[in-house]
Symmetry: C2
Subunit: 111 residues, 2 copies
Amino acid sequence: MPQETSATDTAPRELWYPEREDITIYGILAALSDPTRLEIVRALAQHEERCPFDFLDITSKQNLTHHFKVLREAGLIKSRYEGRKKFVWLRRDPIDEMFPGLLDGILGAVK
Amino acid sequence: MPQETSATDTAPRELWYPEREDITIYGILAALSDPTRLEIVRALAQHEERCPFDFLDITSKQNLTHHFKVLREAGLIKSRYEGRKKFVWLRRDPIDEMFPGLLDGILGAVK
DNA sequence: TCTTTAGTACAAGATGTATTGTACTATCTC
DNA sequence: GAGATAGTACAATACATCTTGTACTAAAGA
């Protein structure tokens, strides 16, 4: 199981991301098999960056945090903090390199 | 939940399959997010028809039965019985029509 | 400093899934 | 019919996942 950065770390709110070679097609498919997460990823594919709570119309705060964590641990997204806002974007490069055509196939399959 | 044909039915060993419109991209992605099932589907994509127990090197009998049931209920496969053997094949047509590029994207992503 | 907003942590409950063991049916061959 | 083979059914366990409630931190603005 991936370890979050502990409270003793210097940098606050730093998140763990899987290395390129730890991203699996199984993790990606599982992450995208949830309607909420597929909708989020579809939005990220169009908007460059989004804030997690732009999606509060879909589900609750805590649940969004959960789903963004799943997407992050699957290697699908990265994020940065700016003040109290968080900006999230798709990690297209490693995924398109390791699994060419996968993301396009999934995102293109639904109009 | 899908109902299997009961023991009182005339035709023996008939299985339930989802209608075209009941196939979802979420179900497909979830079904293919398992290593065993993705390997099975990759083999089916190359071999036209296969018997479930051609995959006994991967996992147990009962587990294969389980995984083939998941694939069937997701709408990914169809099967027929011939004597005591079962032959399974990919349901490419409805999937390629409803989700064009999806299966190719997933199966093409892994060499 | 106080309040508000963005976001996280954690626990809990409900549900789903993967796997195995045991027992069973169905078909073929002898 | 007897035995072997292909396959299923069901229960049980272990584990993962989704969702919500409660409580918390971190930053912005007044």
